[in-house]
Amino acid sequence: MTTFATARATLLKDLRLEWRSKDAINSMLFFALLVVVVFSFAFSPTAEESRRIAGGLVWVALLFAAIFALNQTWARELRNQVLDAYRVSPAPPNALFLAKAIGNFLFVLVLEVLMTPLFVVFYGLRSIGPVWQLIVVALLGTWALVVNGTFFAALSIRTRSREIMLPLILFPISIPALLGMVDATTSILTGEASPDFWIKMLAVYDVVFTAVCLLLFETVLNAE
């Protein structure tokens, strides 16, 4: 099978599994809702303040929530030795990686779409800057989280206490991406500064780390 066909088959399988079980999306959504509510109690911000803190809040909530989806990415494939079967098959490893990364990307995007009304309701949030820029930041930022997250989930699946391991190795590497997402979102919401630099930075981060992931994934998949 070609890379594209393999990736498509894996992606469709994952989407169908998620559609029927809704494991990842339900736990992510509920967790994100809890974060939103808890922060709202903790700060009880006004509309003006919430514009300043929402950028940080949204992305921290998403970062923690995304861990649910990322952790189950490969755990699912351990049952019945599916991952081992994949390794002995001639299918290209990068197709598997891309399918998993795109799957997680879609899950987190769905989460973002569902969370937006929550923020509008609880924080009275309205953007001063253009909304299309927020969408660009969301797409780039989500990919930045998910591409490394999918890779590190493949790393941490081989360790003891794997569920804890993923955030421990993912967060330090993601600091520049997180900074970019938070600052871009805040500058768009408040309309005070231009997010251009951060959007470029996120694009560079995405390209660099997608390349590193694709270069190293086969090595990690076959690690013995």
Partner: protein
């Protein structure tokens, strides 16, 4: 080889004694900052040694991914640990100096933040090494090392942009061009001494790592023999 190493350790101790004497007694006291400026003779060489260690870690990790030689993995493990230790020294001596000179313990300045993120990344590397099981550990650690090294310039670039909107505290003294020759003298001796200390620790840690591996291999062999009886 062993004698050579012992000679090197003796030389390092002598160097360290001489450079400490230079830094604390010979180098002139800085005019505005006073005695606290002398921490630079430890702070900057530690940062340099940590940087060298992390670079060695990156090269050894790449070499491991390429050749799959257990020795380069042991070197990667040793250099990450020694690097984290020196980086910790940097992060502790920095605020001790900053408090009297800047009036604050910490600021999210480009260099400070990058050092902290660097420290976090390599601590997570050490955590991964501890938690990864058996034979996979080396490959996983090497992969993470590559990620960490690629991340550092991006961190530096983004923080620099992030913080240039704010007036950054002036980096006074240090190795900048305005350094007094007597200070430079003390500084260079310390740089040499700390690099040698780094090499000594690296060699010792590397040997320990190799030793641990052979003990583990012996245990595994013994277990295999016990199983076949």
């Amino acid at each position: 080889m062993k004698n050579l190493f012992i000679a090197f350790v003796v030389l390092t101790v002598a160097l360290l004694a001489y450079s400490t004497y230079q830094a604390l007694f010979v180098a002139p006291t800085e005019q505005t900052m006073g005695e606290v400026q002398r921490i630079f003779y430890y702070h900057v060489p530690s940062a340099w040694t940590a940087g060298v260690c992390f670079f060695v870690n990156f090269l050894a990790s790449l070499l491991y991914l390429w050749k799959r030689d257990a020795r380069s993995d042991a070197l990667a493990a040793a250099s990450a640990e020694v690097g984290v230790m020196f980086c910790t020294i940097v992060l502790i001596t920095g605020p001790i100096w900053a408090r009297p000179v800047w009036g604050i313990w910490w600021t999210w300045d480009a260099r400070l933040t990058t050092t902290l993120v660097l420290w976090l990344i390599y601590v997570s590397y050490l955590v991964l090494r501890r938690f990864a099981a058996g034979g996979q550990q080396q490959v996983l650690a090497a992969a993470l090392a590559v990620f960490g090294f690629v991340d550092v310039p991006i961190v530096y670039m983004s923080i620099r942009w992030f913080r240039t909107q704010h007036p950054a505290p002036v980096m006074g003294g240090g190795e900048n061009s305005g350094l007094d020759p007597a200070m430079l003298h003390a500084f260079l001796w310390n740089l040499l001494a700390f690099t040698c200390v780094g090499v000594v620790l690296l060699v010792l840690r590397y040997r320990l790592q190799r030793l641990e591996e052979s003990v583990e291999a012996a245990h595994a062999a013994a277990a295999l023999q016990g199983g076949s009886q």
